[in-house]
């Protein structure tokens, strides 16, 4: 009986302690404002952002609780938070996510209403447009990104070949690589995702229009253009320019920069975002070097077709209890010298003019990043792609058809027709 009494007392004490712990509030002094900010990134970005938040806290006396993860699972987490109305005050988002969370522009705080708290003059109109939905400024780009052609200079040197400067030269490199270096070497490589981006560029250079129109919920090109899309894949894989579907699949579900042929320079290039190329050059073995190739242009191209968009953006919660403070935090991270110095280049070259100048003056922008920025600045980019191009259902639609073509399950003709019909059908379903 005593034992029972002891158990009961212990359990009740334990339960009381647990309940007390659950009911505890944070130990911050009463009256101190507190914000929450979430982002994804690698450990160096985490470290830099935490340092910037510490400086913001010191400057403004506003506590900021950090919620950070890797990219995997971040969207699912944020989605659950937004759906459950527990989203942080400030969020790092992807450009495409605006269509998910704020299709009418009211899903995030309208930063236009807080212009006195943020210096918007540091951002060009195009960048601000990409964060604007139906007149509401929902998000501000941290850095911009474009898919550019990056090639392994070391492998090209080994083959005695120059970096291609046109589509035709790129096509010619396939057989040349095979002849000079062997079957396992390719002049350029990437996941289906990268190829879809490359083929989009090819088509847009011909049409001078975005590939997708959100207004008509359809492809903004002809059936013939989709035949060209499929034909490009067939040609590049057949001519040893791009590894075939079977060759790529043989490595399983693995990131390109972690594949052995990328690491040792056999897959000697990629069509990658300039904001993430360092991640790819970092994994190269030995002293191999990545170089930026001239952007290939079709004869009579109506536009560079460069896939250009913010690499990531900062947005504030539409229902935040501290809208002014949330906007001040965004301004601090993007424009304030203290914040900019702490954030460095961990999120790419900043869009903010003042931040860019500061980092450039301090010699922090690498030659590869400078070359990429210069190519971006000189390219004719009049066509801005619809965010729906990045919708997972649309991307997978492209991938499934190209994969079927790559495995010989459908002909080039059928692939072109299916690209046109199936992607249009998908767009009708997903564009709301």
């Amino acid at each position: 009986m005593d034992a029972y009494r002891l158990h009961r007392r212990t359990m009740l004490l334990g339960a009381a302690a647990a309940l007390t712990a659950c009911g505890q509030t944070s130990s911050r002094p009463a009256g101190t404002k507190e914000l929450r900010m979430s982002w994804w990134g690698g450990s160096s970005a985490h470290k830099a952002t935490l340092e910037a938040l510490k400086r913001f806290e010191k400057r403004h006396g506003i506590r900021v609780r950090a919620e950070y993860t890797g990219f995997a699972g971040h969207l699912e987490r944020l989605t659950t938070q937004i759906s459950g109305r527990t989203a942080p005050d400030v969020m790092q988002i992807n450009w495409f996510w605006q269509t998910l969370f704020s299709p009418d522009g009211t899903g995030f705080l309208d930063l236009n209403q807080h212009r006195d708290k943020i210096d918007l003059s540091q951002f060009d109109a195009r960048s601000l447009n990409m964060g604007t939905t139906k007149g509401h400024l929902n998000a501000i780009p941290v850095s911009n990104a474009a898919r550019l052609v990056y090639l392994n200079q070391t492998t090209y040197d080994k083959a005695g070949l120059s970096l291609p400067s046109s589509w035709d030269e790129l096509f010619a490199r396939g057989p040349q690589f095979k002849q000079k270096l062997g079957d396992g070497y390719y002049p350029i490589d990437g996941l289906f995702l990268e190829f879809i981006g490359l083929a989009r560029t090819y088509v847009v250079q011909g049409t001078g229009k975005p590939l997708i129109s959100a207004e008509t919920k359809s492809l903004n090109c002809s059936r013939q253009d989709m035949h060209d899309f499929a034909g490009l894949y067939a040609r590049m894989t057949r001519d040893h320019v791009w590894p075939s579907a079977q060759v790529r699949a043989s490595y399983g579900n693995v990131a390109q920069q972690e594949m052995r042929p990328w690491i040792n320079g056999q897959f000697a290039g990629t069509f990658m975002w300039n904001s993430t190329i360092e991640k790819y050059s970092d994994t190269l073995a030995g002293n191999q070097k990545i170089a930026l190739a001239p952007y290939p242009l079709r004869e009579g191209a109506k536009d560079s077709g460069m896939m250009f968009r913010p690499s990531m953006m900062f947005a504030a919660n539409a229902t935040t209890a501290h809208p002014d403070e949330a906007v001040m935090l965004i301004d601090f991270l993007l424009n304030d010298p203290d914040g900019v110095r702490a954030m460095e280049l961990k999120r790419g070259v900043p869009v903010s003019k003042t931040a860019r100048k500061l980092l450039n003056d301090e010699g922090l922008i690498s030659p590869l990043q400078q070359a990429s920025e210069a190519q971006l600045a000189s390219a004719q980019i009049n066509v801005l792609e619809s965010p729906y191009f990045e919708h997972p259902r649309v991307r997978d639609g492209f991938q499934d058809i190209l994969e079927a073509l790559g495995y010989g399950r459908i002909s080039e003709q059928q692939a072109g027709d299916r690209l046109f019909d199936d992607i249009n059908a998908i767009l009708h379903r997903v564009v709301r």
């Binding site: 029972y4 158990h7 009961r8 359990m11 339960a15 969207l75 699912e76 989605t79 659950t80 937004i82 759906s83 109305r85 998910l100 969370f101 579907a245 079977q246 060759v247 790529r248 699949a249 043989s250 490595y251 399983g252 579900n253 693995v254 052995r260 042929p261 997972p392 259902r393 499934d400 994969e403 079927a404 495995y407 399950r409």
Partner: protein, 300 residues
């Protein structure tokens, strides 16, 4: 007495709360969601009731049909193979040999490691085009196989990942083998029955309750396989390893179709329930329980 009831209730409270929150609530909620067009990024209140549309939509969803076919193939291949292999190893490890404990531990090790993320990553490395197996084949002068790059062999690689986790089924079989009375084998020896005949006439019938248990467990687990295809092949190539749990995950967390994903979950649940029910119904025809033996009623 009152105290005992109170303490007992307190002891089970954590389980009951956990069960209600993490099993019962999602179970009911997923069914309700399956009747709506709920999307993950919207407020739940925005979801529209769509009746059975998600279920009827599967009839014309070629991806679902492909995934269902692949899932059945996976289950029908892995379950019998795994049971047969586990039973074979259990019979071998039941022999009284020197150092048998060591062997039992060694054979159980893969099951401790299981089909975890880390093992799946290792599996991907082993079966990659330039992976361990092809390197081994290459050193013998044999051309490599595109294990992950061809639909048939990709499925084979995933199947093998499940097969190597035969340890838990093996341990249950081993326990079953130990419970079979020695006198039955002695009597069979006296009657001149061969080892093979003893296996078919004594071992296997008396193991059927264990076999039944293992069968149910393996069916349920195989239908729920996720790690292997997710990490090794991402369901490819050509969706040849796109098992239903992977499709459920992608519908919910990649495409945000919470309603459709919930409906898929319920279809998977119903399939597993049907298999389990059929197995339970059929057991009277093939499972031999000890109490069925007349001699057990009066004792020895």
């Amino acid at each position: 007495m009152y105290n005992n009831k109170l303490i007992g209730s307190l002891y089970v409270t954590p389980f009951v709360i956990g069960f209600l929150l993490f099993t019962a609530f999602p179970f009911v909620a997923s069914f309700i969601l399956s009747l709506t067009d709920a999307r993950l990024q919207d407020q739940l209140g925005a979801a529209q009731f769509t009746g059975l549309a998600n279920y009827t939509g599967m009839v014309s969803d070629s991806t679902f049909q492909k995934s269902l076919g692949v899932t059945f193939a996976y289950v029908f291949i892995t379950v019998p193979l795994k049971l047969a292999f586990a039973l074979f190893i259990a019979v071998v490890l039941n022999f009284k040999l020197r150092g048998i404990g060591l062997f039992r531990t060694a054979f159980y090790l893969p099951s401790i490691l299981g089909g975890s993320v880390a093992i799946a990553v290792v599996w991907r490395f082993v079966f990659a085009g330039d992976g361990l197996i092809n390197q081994g084949l290459g050193s013998l002068g044999i051309g490599g196989v595109n294990w992950l790059g061809e639909p048939t062999t990709a499925m084979f690689s995933i199947v093998l990942l499940r097969l190597w986790q035969f340890g838990s089924a093996m341990v249950v079989f081993l326990a079953g083998l130990k419970a079979i009375p020695e006198d039955l084998y002695e009597a069979a020896d006296l009657d001149g029955a061969s080892r093979m005949k003893q296996f078919w006439m004594i071992t296997l019938p008396l193991l059927t309750p264990v076999l039944f248990f293992n069968f149910i467990m393996q069916i349920v687990q195989a239908f729920q396989e996720f790690n292997g295809p997710y990490i090794i092949t991402a369901g490819g190539p050509l969706k040849s390893s796109y098992l239903l749990p992977l499709m459920i995950y992608e519908e919910a967390f990649k495409y945000f179709n919470l309603g459709y994903s919930s409906a898929l979950s319920w279809v998977l649940f119903i399939i597993i329930a049907i298999f389990t029910a059929v197995a339970f119904w059929s057991q009277k025809h093939w499972v031999f329980y000890a109490q069925d033996r007349g001699d057990d009623k009066g004792g020895h």
